[in-house]
Point group: C2
Chain length 267, copies 2
């Protein structure tokens, strides 16, 4: 008998989006629709969208842009033909003045004609690509969230959006670190190559054993910490900007697109 987890792993992107749209799926999309690209969503009124677009463009490693909608448009045709931004994510998060105020399962009632949607690369896809190459990921082994850290790496500022980069860390032995650099280089739309490896002090990490986000993982003898730009970076920038209204996916509850992972590889 096929378990629910396996059934969702083998589902298509369209299956996942339709289940979310029907209200049947409100769970995290981790491990669902294997091989399909999942994305972070940021939805902003047009008045803030130009600044955020420039912010992403200036910081492509933490904020890799896969698609931007026209104002008011509820589709993202490059990411899927049958796709409704306001219903197809299992759970959303609504921010007012930088505060999370609700986690609804759709945003139909909140929709406005001036909303612009940004789809950004997501680490679920990144981790899946590494796992497919037999690179063991400690946070997957430990069954916990990846370790993420504030750094001293400054972002290119744009309007109200700025601050420092947040990075995720995966401990790897040297051979896997080299291989992971090669593989992630092929995927600039899910954060691309690492921004650092080795000594955490060099990028202003306070305490490698105490990540600011996610959970700590063991770094074993012979392993190097390898640091990638992280999708928490735009989330932090968004919260810090304190906009009157902003909406995103709820953490872990992604938009699943019709793009296959190999389609976003640059070589």
């Amino acid at each position: 008998m096929v378990s629910t987890v396996e059934r969702w792993a083998q589902a298509s992107a369209v299956d996942v989006r339709r289940a979310a749209r029907a209200g049947e799926l409100t769970a995290s999309t981790a491990g669902m629709a294997g091989g399909f690209v999942q994305v972070n969503l940021v939805i902003l009124p047009a008045r803030d969208a130009a600044d955020f677009l420039r912010f992403c463009q200036g910081n492509p490693k933490p904020c890799p842009l896969l698609a931007v909608s026209e104002p008011g448009e509820r589709g993202l045709p490059r990411l899927g033909a049958d796709l409704d931004i306001a219903t197809d994510v299992p759970r959303y998060r609504v921010f007012r003045h930088g505060q999370a105020v609700a986690d609804p399962t759709d945003i139909v009632e909140l929709w406005q004609d001036d909303l612009v949607t940004f789809a950004l690369g997501c680490s679920f896809t990144f981790d899946h690509v590494l796992s497919q190459a037999d690179i063991a990921l400690r946070h997957v082994e430990q069954g916990c969230n990846v370790s993420m850290y504030d750094t001293s790496l400054p972002l290119a500022r744009s309007g109200p959006f700025g601050g420092n980069m947040v990075v995720s860390m995966r401990p790897l032995n040297a051979a896997d670190a080299i291989r992971a650099i090669q593989i992630s280089t092929r995927f600039p739309l899910v954060h691309g190559a690492p921004v650092h490896l080795g000594d955490p002090d060099r990028i202003g990490i306070r305490d490698i054993a105490a990540p600011e986000y996610g959970e700590p993982v063991a770094i074993r003898d012979g392993e190097l910490p390898v640091f990638w730009a992280c999708g928490v970076t735009p989330q932090r920038a968004l919260v810090d900007a304190g906009l009157p209204l902003a909406m995103t996916h709820s953490p872990g509850h992604m938009l699943v697109t019709d793009l296959r992972e190999h389609e976003i590889a640059v070589c």
Copy 2:
């Protein structure tokens, strides 16, 4: 006025080969014919050539094969139209029973109808590619030879050819290490991606401050030692095999080919 060094740097591969052929050039080819691929040569009687070919095939990182001649053939048409293996290298080295016995400027008198020539990727080209990408190389800054080490990394044995890999080491900060991995991955024919980075113990290096070949270089605060498979590997294997006759280029005195560096990039 253009210096001799600059003149040779701007020379074509054909210019360098013709000067070597005429006996006018007997110096190291380091820095000559910028952008043209230089290669190591190994020349063996046919009876040993099949084993050596399998050895290279089984150990592509230290022994990347660009071309192999037919027995007795003095040309390597894939590497240059007007090319004579027996005259176009500034200086050769002749080995008998594993001992270097002569460093002649041509091997016309020693030529035999059964000799097979192997052209292997060379670190001059590798270092040039990294330098073109603005990656500062410590051994170039220090004006010395690169540091090279015996390791415990075993080679695939073939007939009399075996032993452990020799690696070269370049100290780089994390950002340059990541970039150097990306760039060298594009060039498998000049040793490709590193085989290790970080802790030298992990690959059996005895003392990072005392390289077995070349000269020691400073590893500065915030830098990682990055290790690449090295062309000294086949030279060691050749000497250790103790063949009755083997010929190579003299160290630093390479065959300059008509191939441009970008032609051997895989992406």
